[in-house]
Structures are given as structure tokens and as C-alpha cells.
Symmetry: D3
Subunit: 250 residues, 6 copies
């Protein structure tokens, strides 16, 4: 076995976690009083404000098909990180990383939406990172699900969709996993993320199926055993996150 089993069993992480342990997860539902749905989600020191904006109607290319639309935008405050970054609004263009993550969040949430049941409504999920310490995209997906679920509850209560419509097919959550010094680990903090040889973001439904698997060799390429060990950890983490989501939504 190519994995560093000793590191994997010993509790050597900087913050004292075991390799298969999530950081402290906190979800504050309804943090915003303006949006139809919202959640402030924390994965340790990572804090993402997720809002769901629901409006009647769909983009032009989808009109008249009786289906709704869910999309997402991800962004980071300039001083969410340890050193300040220039604002993308000031630079006048959106960077590749931002684009990539926005698209990932949107796809992830659409995977558990029945757009027919949503009717011709649009939900935009804004995920703004207020503080970043690794795993911002996975926190964003996990929090955006809560905001999305709230906005659908809002839609039902306000008769924007029928009382019997069930646009949510499942829940969805995401976590990062990686290999550090040969050991697979769950939910990387920033100091771990920069050292990881392999970094993987995994998006999983409440019923345990994959929505996205994005594994990248940052250092040496990885083999099938490593891939499998990472997937095991990811399924463990996302099942715990799914439980927290259910608890939050009541």
C-alpha cells in the first residue's frame, strides 16, 4: 500500500484533528434578513455568506419550457485572506479561479433540483467568502444548499410554487480531501492545502452519490489506491455534513 499509514493513524494535524475529522462546522440559517434564503457557514475559520435570491421568470434561452433555473456566483472579499487581493471589480474582470468555482457551485446545486417542479423561477446563489482558511468552495456548496432549501420553503409559503411541488430531489454537500506527506486527510485547512501533493474536491448527495469529483495532482501524480482512499474520506465527511444540514433546516 502506497499510503503513509502511520501518519494516517497518528493525530499529527496542526490543529490537533485526526486525519478523518472535519473542522468545527457551524451553519447560521437566516443570517440575512433581505434574501429569500441565507446561511452563514463556517468550516473552522473559513466563513462564507450564502444568499439565495428567488425571482419569477427565467433567462431568455429557457423561456416557455416550464422549467426553472438555479445558478451561483462565488467571490471573495479582498481581505478574506492573509494578504489583501485586488478586487475583481477594480481589475474589471473575473479571474479564472472565480469563474471555475462559480460554475462548480451552480452545477452542484442543479444536480439535486427538479427544474420542472421549480416552475419558471430563477434562484441565484451568491456565495461570498468573508474569511478564507481553505475549503471555501466546499463550504460554499454546503452552505448554498441551506440557503437554497430556505428559499424554496419561502417560495412555497408565499405561493410562488405550489404546496405540493418538490423541487429538491436530495441534499448536497461538499468537502475537500488531500494527501499530505503521503497521508490522506479530510477537510484541509489552508496550511494543509498548500502542502498537499494531491487535492480533491468531492460533491456528494445526501444519498451518497457523486455529483462532482475533482482531483488534481499538485505535486506527484496519484495512483488508484490513493484515489480510493481519498474518496472514502470524502464520503465520510459529506455524510456528516448532510446530517448537519438536516439538523439546521429542522
Amino acid at each position: 500500500m502506497s499510503l503513509n499509514a502511520e501518519a494516517a493513524t497518528a493525530g499529527t494535524r496542526a490543529d490537533g484533528r485526526t486525519v478523518d475529522q472535519l473542522r468545527d462546522i457551524s451553519i447560521t440559517r437566516g443570517w440575512s434578513s433581505q434574501a429569500e434564503g441565507s446561511a452563514l457557514i463556517e468550516f473552522g475559520s473559513t466563513r462564507v455568506l450564502c444568499t439565495a435570491s428567488l425571482t419569477a421568470g427565467v433567462p431568455r434561452w429557457l423561456r416557455g419550457e416550464g422549467r426553472g433555473w438555479v445558478t451561483a456566483e462565488y467571490a471573495m472579499l479582498p481581505r478574506a485572506t492573509n494578504t489583501r487581493s485586488d478586487r475583481e471589480s477594480v481589475k474589471g474582470k473575473i479571474g479564472g479561479r472565480t469563474h471555475e468555482i462559480s460554475r462548480l457551485i451552480g452545477r452542484s446545486l442543479r444536480s439535486i433540483i427538479d427544474t420542472k417542479a421549480l416552475g419558471e423561477n430563477t434562484i441565484v446563489l451568491d456565495c461570498d467568502v468573508l474569511q478564507a482558511d481553505g475549503g471555501t468552495r466546499t463550504a460554499a456548496i454546503t452552505g448554498a444548499y441551506v440557503a437554497l432549501a430556505e428559499s424554496i420553503r419561502f417560495a412555497r409559503e408565499n405561493k410562488l410554487i405550489s404546496a405540493s411541488a418538490q423541487p429538491l430531489l436530495d441534499t448536497v454537500a461538499a468537502v475537500s480531501v488531500g494527501i499530505i506527506d503521503g497521508a490522506p486527510m479530510l477537510d484541509l485547512a489552508y496550511v494543509e492545502d498548500v502542502r498537499a501533493e494531491t487535492d480533491m474536491n468531492v460533491v456528494v448527495t445526501g444519498s451518497g452519490k457523486f455529483v462532482e469529483v475533482q482531483g488534481t495532482a499538485e505535486g506527484a501524480p496519484f495512483d488508484r489506491d490513493e484515489l480510493n482512499a481519498l474518496l472514502d474520506l470524502a464520503l465520510l465527511g459529506t455524510s456528516q455534513l448532510a446530517q448537519i444540514q438536516r439538523d439546521t433546516l429542522g
Copy 2:
């Protein structure tokens, strides 16, 4: 007297305040663990996250003069408001209102800074509106002062400036005032702001001098008496905000 004295004395505001009463003000110092200084400030439902990023060095045009630089950037999350706005990063350009407020915040804070005492350091104040209910620019100035003061304390503790340097000449705070149905009122919430005939933002130092007076007739032009009544209210409000700033900073 041209003012609506009855309205001004009667407590007729939507949220039950008297005309000369601030909303509940809350300042959470150190809300961010990443920035050299930070504050989450709330004027009622208006919430602005202010961070101060301190770096050695100054912009090219200021090099070699032995003086520091303080600047600010203001922005609003897309769903800070009641309906969602497109992101300026997505539109690829910054709107006039954003530019205008960023410049106002920067000027306001520079007015109480001794740039010689700051040395060749730059402090960028990011004021991001997380939730908007009127008065975001005045909350931003008031909160940015706290973040700024924290970052200067940080600079002194970390020997980035000498222990005896006093870059802060005074404190600074801001409040909006306006005339609604003929009555001058302090600290307008959004529902008041949109109805105001005249809207004024006033930036005042802790010692009670004006840094900025920006009065605009949204409806009918205003006369000298109205202007004076608004300035009286603004001085009252900013003196209370200055006290809260002092209490927050200890």
C-alpha cells in the same frame, strides 16, 4: 420657521425612534482574524464589514517623501439589498455611486491621519456592505475608523511604526440626516431615505469639526434654516458615535 416643528417633536418614525435618535449601533472589533484591523459595524439592520490592510511601502507617486497613504474601497454584496443587484465584477466596471463613496471614505479617514507619523506605510480600508438598510456610507466611515485605529495599534505593537508615533490626529464618524415631510431627522433608515426631500451626509471629527458636508436636494431645494437644522442633528449624532468608537477601542 419653515420646518415642520410638530413632526420634529412627535415620535412618528416607522421604527418608533424620535427624530433626533440614532438607530441601535453595534461595533464588533476584530471580527476578522486575517486583517491587521477590522470591525463589523451595525446601524440598525445595516451591516458593514470594515477591514484595514496595512503594508509597508506607498504607491509610486508618493515614494521617497517619508509619508504614508490611506485609501478606501467600498462595495456592496449583490444581495445586501432587498432585490439583488448584478456584481460590479461581472459587469466589468465599477459604478459611479461606488466610486463616489469609496473616495468619500478615503478622504474622511485621511483627514484625521498624520501621514508623516504613519511613515511609508499604506493602509487600505475595505468596507463591504453585507446588509443594507440606509446609511451604508456613514456606517462604513464610522466602522472604518475603528479598523484603522486597530491597524495602527497593530503597527505600533509590531514595531512597524515607532512607539511614540501618533498617526491618528482625532477620531472621525459620519451620519446621515434628512428632511422628511418637512421634518429634519437623524440617521435615516432605507424607508426614510427614499422619501427624503433633502439628504445630507456629514462627516465630523471627534472634536466636532466638519470633514465633509454633502447635502443634496432630492426633491425641492432647501433653504439656510433647513441646512442649519440638519447640521445640528448631524453634530448630535456624530458626537454619540464618537463616544461609541472610544468605548469600542477601550
Copy 3:
């Protein structure tokens, strides 16, 4: 009294003016043969070409309300100033100062317009600074009023609005005032503007009411006495400008 009364009475200005004296003001009505209204205005060496473009119809967000729209755009030729600036078109974005002034001009002119009487027509005021020597925004507002009035006369003569419609509620003019070496002064030229401790732009109707009061402490904050002295000067200057506007329009 905190003001420098001696300087204020002595005629010590670079161009020999007294502290309460406007520069030579010249307004050439109809300078452009293309626009519905136009004026080349000069405040000393400051020259601004103002054109009013009147078109039927209003922006989408105003349609069907039976009201018109007035807006403004301000810009400066690259070599209007003593050293050349890059064009905003070449930079691909509009700077904060340009945005801010365009918005100020638009608000100022809307303050004296009865949009109902204007009908569903749009007037765009372009204020292009051909030569800059301080006070370009106040010259722009004062000249734009003349172009606006001309375009409304054009509209009436060409039956675009009814003969009895009176879209102009009043006249409007603007002037800058400032404190230099402790002395309040009227209509600052560029060499004065850069030395001013406090700089204020005041927009006043023909009937002497305030539309905008924008005072900024460039150096030390200012007190109430200083503010009042500046407002007195501004009212003096704008009343003279209003007379010149009336003379120009015949």
C-alpha cells in the same frame, strides 16, 4: 472669529481679484450648430462646451409614466490641463472623479426640471472641458443650464412639447468657494484650488435655494463659522451667475 479677516479684505489673489469676486464669465450661446442647445462657457481660463441633446422617448425604466428625463456626462479633453492625462476611452474605464461630477451635474439640473411638463423626452447634457483652470464642474453646471434652456426652447418651437408647457421651474448655477490661508474666497482658480484647506462646491437656484452643498476639508477640518462664511460667498457668486444666465438667454 476664526477666519483670516485681513486676507479676506485685502486683494491678495494671484490674478488681482478681491476675495468675493468672480473671474471673467463668458457664455457663448449656440456655439454648436448640431445640438438642440449649446453653450461655450468660460470662467476665466476654464472653458467648457455644453451641449443638450434632446430625443423623444425615455429610458426603459421610466416608460409609460408620462415623465421626461435629464442626465449629464462630464469629461475632460486629455490636454485640457497643464500636463496630459490618458483618455478614459483608452483606459477602458471611467474614473471616479468623472463619474462623481457627471452625477452632480445631472442631479443639479433635474432639481429645476418639472419632468411631467417635459413629457416623455430625454435631454442629455454633455459637458466637455476644453481647457481647465479650476471650477470646471461649477462652470459645467452653469453652462449646462443655458444649453438645457435652449433645448427646451427648441422643443417648444418644434412642437415637441406643448407651447404652454413650462419644464423649467427655476434657473440653476454653481460656484466653488474655499478657504486659503484662513481666508474664504470665491470662484477658485486652479492655483488657488490646490492650496485650499477647505473646498466647497455650491449649487443654487435662481431663487437662492440650495440644490447641492459639497464641502470637503482638504487640509484641516472646518468649523461652523467657516462653513457659514463660505455659504455667504457662494450665494453672492451664484446670484451674479444667475443674472449672466438670464442676460445670455435674453
Copy 4:
């Protein structure tokens, strides 16, 4: 002969000119008090403000070669024309036509400059169309030459180049010619330009040599005889413009 000889001899132009007659040409040297050289040039109702900005140094790619640089930027005020155009600064990009004309002006003026004699100095020619009635690019080239010559005189008087340096190798002027209803005509006004089957802009030195020949079939393609007739007219017009330039510069 394929040309409409009758039309060419009859004086049938809208403004009463003969086919080989320039519009009234006026050049006001030194119109701007800010620039090192300037000229307001008028070809009939077409008015272009040309300024020359001279600075020490050259662009990075030219450094250390002991040669200077001359470049140009052309732009049009939004209401220079009969209907208002959006500003390129507002659109955030420069149109193809603007780019094309800026490049043409720059090449035309560089053709008569000895960059060695200019030394490592840069001259930027800004040609801003204040009013447009056809022929704006040719007026711009003709006026820019005057501004350029003035700026070189300024450089010599201020010892920025040596008293004996002769950066100007020749003069340069430009005119438009075109075929309308089969008749070749000189210096087209806007109403003529839009009707022209063939439109040609010709840039010629004071000694009668070609710098640019840009002929375009707007309607039917043109033959060699037509081309020759147009070139004859262009040489006639530019020789007259060259004389006016010499008279203006004294």
C-alpha cells in the same frame, strides 16, 4: 472618359462651391493656453481642436536609441454630429473607426519628422472633433501639423532640443476627395460624403509627395481614370492647405 464632365464643370454643390474648391479654411494657432502647441482648425463647419503635448523621454521600446516619438489620438465629442453618439469611455472600448483614424494621423505626421533631430522626446497629438461636418480626419491631420510645428518651436525656445535641430522635414496636409453622381469633387462636406460612390483621403507633403492614399469604393468600384482625377484634385487641395499652414505659422 468615364467621368461626369458636365457635373465636374458646373457648380452644382449644395453650398455653391465648384467641384475643385475647398470649404472656408480657418486655423487658430495657440487656441489652448495649456499645450505646448495647439490649433483650432475649421474646414467649413467641421471644427477640430488639435493639441501637441511634448514630454521628455520616449516609450520603453524606443529607449536608448536617441530618437523621438510622435503619435496621435483622435476622438469625437458625443454631440459633434447631428445625432448624439455614446462616448467610447462609457462603452469601455474604442471603436474601429477611431483606432483607424488615430493611426492614420500618427503615421502622417511621423512621415515628415526626423526622429533623430527630435531627440528622446515624445509628442502626442490629440485631435478632438468639436463639430463634425465631413472631412474630420483630414482637418485633424492638417491642424495637427500646425500644433506639432508650434510644439517644436516651443521645444527649441525652451532648449528642449538644440537651436540647430530641424525635426520637421516638410509640412503635411490632407484632404478628402470623392466621386458623386460621376463627378470627382474636392473636400466633401457630410451631405456629399454620404452620397459619394468613391471616397478618398489623401495625405500630401508640402513638396507634393504622397504620404497616404486611401481610396474606397463605397458604391461601384472605380477605374484608373477616376483614380487619377481624384488624385489631381487632392494635390490641388493640399497645395492650398499647405499655403494656409505656412501663413498661419508665419
Copy 5:
């Protein structure tokens, strides 16, 4: 005669051609299986992929007039040239040269189109330079004609225009000519182009009439004799290109 007759008769070109000889010309019709018409054209080492995209409908400003529209876009791959250039998409704006050439190609092709016969259809010609060795714009025009003709054949075969409609009035081709060391030469390769004193691009119809004549003095201005010698060469080259176009289209 001012031309260098000896050089003009001696075969002194780097690639062994005579002064009046085209490079090897190759046109691969139908290179793309996606577009309605396409051609890969080679002028020696210069390779341009031309595609014609035909769609029903016309731009808004042309609707309802029963006429079609033909336009073109030119671009260069970043490593088409000897050193890599930044992508215009990455820079976020299109350069002046690109704009200028796109407009030239569009005008050239519209000159031989009967837009009435085309009906309300739009054809966009994309000319992408895969490899550049001088003459890319003239190769693009010559190749775009072939793609255009193919797309019209496609339109006729697919009943998008009537069987009897003849939108093509003529053929069109283009070639560059220039003066090098005093000798006029045909179809300049890159090493020749950079040395040319005068550079001219000439667009000519199959029937030998001029569509565009764009001559530029890169070094010394040119006289009438030189101009005539260049035009002679251009007519020779374009007549050969027209024959190759006819052979290609069968």
C-alpha cells in the same frame, strides 16, 4: 524615371522570385466541415483559415429593408508570428490594427455583393491567421471570397435564397505591393514588408476595377510615378489571383 529599374528587372528577392511574381498560392476549399463555406488559403508561408457563417436575419438596424449583410472579423493566433503576441481576448480589447483589417475585409467583400439578391441573410467571414509571413490581410480577402462564394452556393442548394438569385456581382482579390530599395515589388513576404519604403494594399474585382487602394509611405513619401508602377503590379497580381479563385471554385 525615379524607380530603381535595375533592381526591378534583376531577380534579387530573398526567395528567388522576380519582382512581379506572386508567392505560391494555395486555396483549400471546404477545409472546415462546420461552416457553410470555408477556405484555407496560403500565400507562401502565410496561412489564413476563412470561414463563412450564414444565418437567416440581419442586424437590427437593417431589418425590414429586404437586404442582407456581409461582415468580417480578422484575428491572428498568438503564435502565428515569429514571436508570440498576447491574445486580444486576454488583453480584453481589440487592437487598432485588427479593427482596421476587419473593416477592410468587410468593405471589400460587400463591394461585390448585391445585398438585395442576398435577401435578409447575414454572412460573417472569419479570417483567422494560423501562420503569418506578410500579406495576411490580402490573403484573407482573397480566401474570404472563396468561403463567401461557397456559402452562397450552400444557401442556394438549401433554398435559403432562390435558385435564380445572384448575390455575387463579381469576384474580388487583393495583393500587397511595395517599394524596396527603390524597386516596386509584388506580394511582399514579411522580410520584404519590414524593409519597404512604401507599402500598398490593393483590392481589385475580377473585372479589374479598384475596390480599395491603401498606400502608405513607411519611409520617404512617394511620387506619382511610383504610385503608378505599384498599381500596375497590383493589377497583374490580382488578375492571377482571380484566375486561381475561379479554378478553385470550379
Copy 6:
């Protein structure tokens, strides 16, 4: 087993391939005579031109570390696809998909580069899709490897790196796999790609290790068995592509 085994064994693909069969693969090495390395790669009808531009020096942030840099840019010609898309240069910004793929190609190639052995040199890989029929990003990676290898050979032959330096640690290739009607399939053409329930791009080294695994549920989420079946196919395909790369490079 949840997979559609029958479909997987039956040869039901539109182009007659079996489910585990690549399209016809063609790599033309040295297609460009301008670049230091180049390859025109074809996966069936998908055609991508890959060039490698090698320059001395590295980006500013990497200077002085004795390491090289490899990066990539992906783009598509406007009519590479069945309907024309607007150019990103014309739109003035790069889309999310383009950004995402450029980053993927860059990471993939850096994974097999020893940047120390490369020295302070930069290689930019431009991957321009000339014709698109599915799998453009995987063709781009596979072709870019060939261009990269060529450019390193060029560097060695031209003494830009030492004769003994081995910057290439391995080869790298990529392929898409997906599940269509329940059957896992290799190397999807466009008509298959749009129907796939799950779509995965896998980047694998010549030694069979993973560099990137990017799996996305386009329709229903996928389970572990499906993931494994897809990975098996991907490893089969990339091992064949690695052989073709070796054969091409000789």
C-alpha cells in the same frame, strides 16, 4: 452492477465505434514553422493547433529561483463549432469555460515537468481549436505534450538548456469518458457528449498515474461502480494515446 453491460458490449455508437474505442487519432508534428514546437492534433473531426513558445526568463513572481514556468492558453475559433460563437476578444472578456480549460491544460503539463531542469525559461502552450467535435480539452492536452516535447528538444539543440537536462519527467495525455444510456464509453464525440449523464475528463501520465480526474454528473449523480468503470476506460484510452505520442516524437 448498475451499469448497462449490454450497451457496453454492443457496438451501438453513431460512428460505429465500440464503447472502448478511440476515434481516429492523428498528430502532425511541426505543423507551424514559426513556433519552437507545434502539433496539429485530430481526435476524429476535432482539430486543435498546439504551439509551444519558449522564451528566456520567467514571470516576475518566480524570478531568481532557478526554475522555469509552463503555462497554457486555450481558445476556440468562432466557427469551430456548428453555430458561430462571438469572439471573446470582441466581447472583451474571457468566459469561464475558457479559463477553466486553460488552467487544466497548464496544470496537466506542469505535472510532468521538472521546472529546475528547465532553468529560468518559460514555455507558453497555445491550444487553438480549429474545429470542434467533442473532446477539445483532452485533444489539447495530448497535442500540447507533443509541442512541449518538441520545444524542449529545440531548447537543447539551441543550447538554451544543457544537453544533459531532462525537464520532461514523463509523458501526459488525456481523454474523455462518459455514461450514455447507462453505458460507459470512451472518447465522446459531440453528439455523445451532449447526451452523457456523466462526463469525465481524465489526465494520465505515460506511466499510468492520474494527474487530473474531473467527473461531473450532468444528469443523475453517479455511484462508485460507475466511477470505476469510467476510470478503467480512461486508463485504456490514455495508454493508447501515450503510444501515439511516442510514435510521433520518434
